[in-house]
Symmetry: C2
Subunit: 334 residues, 2 copies
C-alpha cells in the first residue's frame, strides 16, 4: 500500500525561486519519510537546480510547466489564461488527486483565485480563508482570515472560527484552542457592525472554546490560539506585525554596531539574542494554508528561503496525515 | 493683552492619576512660558498632589469636580449623568471658551463622546477623528482615525486626510506631508469596498499630497506622514504597534538578563540601546488630538506618566498657537 503523501511545490514562485524553493523542498525529504515531492517549473531552470543536490530520485517527480504567473498580473485573469503556469498545473494536480497538497510562494492573489476556482471549496464552506501562524510570546496563534475574503459576512467569520479551531487542535496540537475575535475594546458594546453581529453567533457555538474579544495589543502576547477577523483587518495585522518586528530589530542591530563599546557588548549577547529572535521568525512556521478547500493549498511567504519552504512541506504532510478535509466537513456539520 | 494659552487637564483620568498627571502638567509650566494650567479633579486628592511641588500659583487654577467617570462605564450615559465629573467639567470649560484645550487620560469612550456632544464639531466636519502620532524609523506619522468613528464612509476618510494633512503641516511642522490610505496591497484593484470608494476621491484632492496605498508592513518605516484609515483598522494598528513593540522589547530584555555573559554585554550596550528605544516610545509624542472640534480635546494614553502628560500639554499649546480651528475650517472649504 502506498502511504506516501504527495506534496506539489511551485518551483517558480517567490523572490528566491527556483534556488531556495528546490533546496528547501529537497531538505524536507530527509526529515519526512512519508513524503513524495512533485516539483513544478520551467524545464531548464528546474533541471539546473536539481543537479546541484544529491537526492533520492525515487521520491521526486518533476512536472514541467512553460509559463510563470508574475506578481503584478490580475489574479483571476492569470489563472484563466496561463493554463501551463506552475500555479495552474499544481492546482490541477491537487484537484485530480494526483497530489495531496500544493505549495506556492508566488502571487498571493493567483494562489487564492486558483484555490477557489480550480481546487474548489468543500461542500458547505462559504469562503475559504487564508490562515497563517503568528509567532507570539507563548508559541503560535492562527490568524484567520488574513487576506482571502475582504468585506466578509458574519456567517463567514463563524466558519473561520470553526475551521481555525480544528486546524489548531489537529495540525498544531493545541488542546481546546481559545478562539477570540479581534475587537477594539473588551467591553460588550464595543466593535463595528460586523463584530457586533458575529459576537452572539460565536457565543452560541458549542463546538469551539470562544473567549470573546481580543484587543490587537494582546495578540503578540498570545491572547488567543485562534484569532478571527475579516481579511482586511487580518492582512493589516499580519503585515504590521512583520513590519514592526523587522523595523525594531533593524534598529536594535544598528545600535549594536554603533560604537566599539556596543560592538563588544554585541559579541557577548549575540548567541542568546539569536535564539530569542529565532522564536519570533515567521519562516520557522511554514506557510499559510487555505482552509476549507477540497485539497490542501499553502501560500508561503514571497520572501521564503529554503528553511521556510522545508517547513511548509512538513506542514503539508502533517495536515494530510490528519485528514483535515474530513474533519473540517464534520466540524461545519455538512 | 492676555496671550496665555489655557490648558485644562483632567487630574483624575488614567492609570497613574492623580500623581503623574499633576506632576507632568506642572512640569510643562517650566518649558512653556505662555501656558496657564487649569487642573480639574476631586478636591482632596488634587490638593494633596499640588502640595508636593513648588509652582507658580499665578499660572495654575484648580477646578473641583466631585465625580469620576470610570473606564468601564458606557460612555454616552456617563457623559449625560455625571455632570460634575472631571471630563464633563473640562469639556464645558472648552465649550465656553474658558479653556483653549482639554486633556484627559481617562476613558477613551467618554472623551470621544464628550468631544462630540459637549464641545461639538466645527461646521462642515462630518466626524471628528482621533489622531495619535506613531513613532517610526523616520520620525512620526499621524494615524487618522484610530478609534472615534467605526463604520466610517468614504467622505469621512477624505476629511480625515485633509485634517490630518493640516495638522502635520502646522503642528508637527512637516512640509507637504505625504498622505497614504491603509490598504492590503499596492495594486490599483486591491482593497475592500470602502478603500476602493475612497481612493478616487483622495486622488481628486488638489490640496493634499496623496501618495496612494500604504501597506501596513511599511508603516513602521515611515511610509507616509498621514496614514488614513477607518477607526476599527486604525485602532488595530495603534494597539498592535504598541503590543508588538512592548512584547519584543520585553523578550530582548529577558534575553539580556538570562546569563552572566549576556548581563556583561547588556552593561556595554545599555546607554545606546536606551537612546534607540526612547525614539520609539509613544509617550514622547503626547496624546491623540480629536480633529475638527470647536475646541481642542486631547486623549492621552491611559498609562500616561508625567512625561507624556507634559508633552501632551506642550502639544496643546502648539496646536492653539497655530489656530488650528481656523485652518481646518478653511482646509475643508466651509
Amino acid at each position: 500500500m502506498d502511504t506516501k503523501i504527495r506534496v506539489a511545490v511551485d518551483a517558480m514562485g517567490g523572490d528566491n525561486a527556483p534556488g531556495e524553493i528546490v533546496k528547501g523542498a529537497l531538505q524536507a525529504l530527509e526529515s519526512e519519510k512519508d513524503l513524495f515531492l512533485v516539483l513544478i517549473g520551467q524545464e531548464q531552470p528546474l533541471k539546473a537546480e536539481l543537479q546541484k543536490y544529491p537526492y533520492d530520485a525515487g521520491r521526486v517527480e518533476t512536472v514541467f510547466a512553460s509559463e510563470v504567473i508574475e506578481m503584478a498580473e490580475p489574479p483571476v485573469n492569470a489563472i484563466r489564461k496561463k493554463k501551463d503556469s506552475s500555479i495552474v498545473v499544481g492546482m490541477n494536480l491537487v484537484k485530480r488527486g494526483d497530489a495531496d497538497a500544493f505549495i506556492s510562494a508566488g502571487s498571493t492573489g493567483a494562489v487564492l483565485a486558483g484555490g477557489q476556482l480550480l481546487v474548489g471549496r468543500l461542500k458547505g464552506v462559504e469562503r475559504p480563508p487564508l490562515a497563517p501562524l503568528l509567532p507570539t510570546a507563548k508559541g503560535v496563534s492562527l490568524l484567520v482570515d488574513c487576506g482571502a475574503n475582504v468585506d466578509a459576512r458574519a456567517s463567514h467569520l463563524v466558519q473561520f472560527a470553526k475551521m481555525g479551531s480544528i486546524y489548531m487542535e489537529n495540525v498544531v496540537g493545541v488542546r481546546n484552542p481559545r478562539v477570540g475575535i479581534v475587537n477594539i475594546g473588551a467591553e460588550e458594546e464595543k466593535g463595528n457592525a460586523l463584530v457586533k453581529e458575529t459576537m452572539p453567533l460565536l457565543k452560541e457555538c458549542k463546538d469551539i472554546n470562544f473567549i470573546g474579544s481580543v484587543e490587537a495589543r494582546d495578540i503578540p502576547y498570545g491572547a488567543a490560539d485562534v484569532i478571527v477577523c475579516e481579511a482586511f483587518v487580518g492582512n493589516v495585522i499580519l503585515k504590521l506585525y512583520e513590519g514592526t518586528s523587522s523595523m525594531l530589530l533593524r534598529e536594535v542591530k544598528k545600535t549594536l554596531m554603533s560604537s566599539l563599546r556596543t560592538k563588544l557588548g554585541a559579541v557577548l549577547i549575540k548567541p542568546a539574542l539569536k535564539r530569542t529572535l529565532k522564536s519570533f521568525d515567521a519562516s520557522q512556521h511554514g506557510g499559510a494554508p487555505m482552509l476549507g478547500l477540497k485539497g490542501l493549498v499553502v501560500k508561503a511567504h514571497g520572501s521564503s528561503n529554503a528553511q521556510e519552504v522545508k517547513n511548509s512541506v512538513i506542514q503539508c504532510v502533517n495536515f494530510s496525515k490528519q485528514d483535515m478535509k474530513e474533519k473540517i466537513s464534520r466540524g461545519l456539520n455538512v
